[in-house]
């Protein structure tokens, strides 16, 4: 069982679309749409939200993502109506990126607050990823060779080449982030957090791209082996 998600939107079509997108990356996670009004019009409905909360909760709690202003107010109202249950968390997150990041975190077995955090940092993480990339590029330009001298003790590294035609697109990124997320490891792939699906997707790594993997922590050996296995098998896509 994993944390469930509820997607609250003014539009039934938008909520259903976000559910479809997030579910593709997180098989087995309960993701329920609460979009539009009973009559199909635009708006948000307390009854729909409360009913979705009931459906989405499989015992591990529910993270709620919302689109515009009054959707947030309706979601807050639902929680107030229910007496502020500890098993429901509202995420202040971008709807699409947040839902995808939360779904992957939930699929990897993360708890309620960790799933909410994954949603709320979905954009920050991709911003940080770009900053890290820029720093790495500067280091290479100056001709320094930091790797050998500064490799901390116990760090595992690997250099792998993507062989599947689609490269590190959404599904493989979700697979890696999901499996790595369940491990006790700090892992970077080309300078971004390997446990974050959003960060991995920001790499835009296509077929033939070289991946530099650096991992440390108790599960470092297993984590690098996992990445090697997935990459060299083309994520099962070839």
């Amino acid at each position: 069982m994993s944390v469930g998600l509820v997607i609250v939107s003014h539009s039934a079509a938008l909520a259903a679309g976000v559910v479809e997108l997030a579910a593709q990356m997180a098989v087995g996670v309960s993701i329920v749409a609460a979009g539009g009004m009973d009559d199909g019009g635009l708006g948000t409905s307390l009854e729909k939200v409360m009913s979705a909360l009931g459906q989405a909760d499989t015992g591990e709690g529910v993270v709620v993502l919302t689109d515009l202003g009054s959707a947030v107010m309706t979601a807050e109202s639902a929680l107030e109506f229910m007496g502020g249950p500890a098993t429901v968390a509202l995420a202040d997150a971008p709807l699409v990126e947040g839902a995808v990041a939360a779904a992957v975190a939930a699929a990897s077995g993360a708890g309620l607050q960790a799933v909410r955090h994954a949603a709320e940092t979905a954009l920050q993480n991709s911003g940080a990823a770009r900053a890290t990339d820029a720093g790495t590029a500067t280091g290479l330009d100056s001709g320094t060779e930091p790797r050998k001298d500064h490799t901390p003790e116990g760090e595992q590294t690997a250099e792998l080449i993507l062989i599947n035609p689609m490269g590190l697109h959404a599904r493989p990124a979700a697979v890696l982030a999901g499996e790595l997320g369940a491990m006790d490891v700090d892992i970077e792939i080309n300078g971004v957090d390997g446990q974050s699906v959003m960060m991995l997707m920001t790499l835009g790594a296509g077929e033939g791209t070289k991946l530099h993997v650096r991992a440390s922590g108790p599960d470092a050996v297993g984590a690098v082996a996992l990445v090697r296995r997935e990459v060299t098998s083309g994520f099962g896509e070839i």
């Binding site: 009973d38 019009g41 948000t44 109506f81």
Partner: protein, 215 residues
């Protein structure tokens, strides 16, 4: 029912009168909202209060608090726009403040109105002067508390609140909006009454009429 307290029949009558006044003023509220918003306030509120009438018939509430919670649940589910959770939270908090009481005296009435206003502030994050429903509710609550403190009857407390809400709504005309869709208009919002403040004044007047009828 006595001169010194209001009961469930008053709460139900308030909602019925609110539904009537919102329905009568549906086009007027749509026009106000069309000027500085998205034009759906009259239609949304009318749909919400019409749904309340159906619920009052099908599941008659037993206490004032239950009446207001029925209204809260229905408005939050049927209105659709921001007015749903805002009015819904107002009625929810008022119901919570009144607890199990079946006789609402002036002090509890003023406390209930204050809780309603605080709920709208908490939900919408608006302040006085932002050109929102708060500009009607806050003077109404101030007037209600003053009247209750001075020993006025519940009907007189409601009359004072309604008059202050009406003045507060009129006073939104010259304001620039700082919340909601009207805030995108800048100075173009000047000269238009805020639809939420206008509907709040209508609904509080309905409360006073229900209170006067029952006194």
């Amino acid at each position: 029912m006595t001169d010194s307290s209001l009961d469930t029949a008053w709460a139900v009558d308030w909602l019925r009168r609110s539904a009537a006044v919102v329905s009568e003023n549906r086009m007027a509220l749509i026009e106000l909202d069309r000027a500085i918003g998205d034009g759906d306030h009259g239609e949304n509120l009318d749909r919400g209060f019409s749904a309340i009438l159906e619920k009052l018939d099908s599941e008659p509430p037993l206490t004032p608090a239950a009446t207001f919670k029925l209204a809260a649940m229905t408005l939050m589910s049927k209105v659709g726009g921001a007015a749903g959770p805002l009015y819904g939270t107002a009625f929810l908090r008022m119901g919570t403040a009144m607890g199990e009481a079946v006789e609402i005296d002036s002090a509890l009435l003023a406390a209930g109105l204050a809780a309603a206003r605080d709920g709208v502030v908490a939900r919408g994050k608006a302040e006085v002067g932002d050109k929102t429903m708060i500009d009607a509710w806050t003077p109404a609550v101030d007037a209600a508390i003053s009247a209750a403190d001075a020993g006025a009857s519940p009907a007189a407390v409601l009359a004072a609140a309604a008059a202050a809400a009406e003045s507060g709504a009129v006073a939104t005309d010259p304001l620039i909006a700082h919340k909601g869709r009207a805030s995108y208009l800048g100075e173009r919002a000047i000269g238009h009454r805020d639809p939420g403040a206008a509907s709040s004044a209508m609904i509080l007047r309905a409360a006073a009429q229900a209170g006067g009828a029952s006194a």
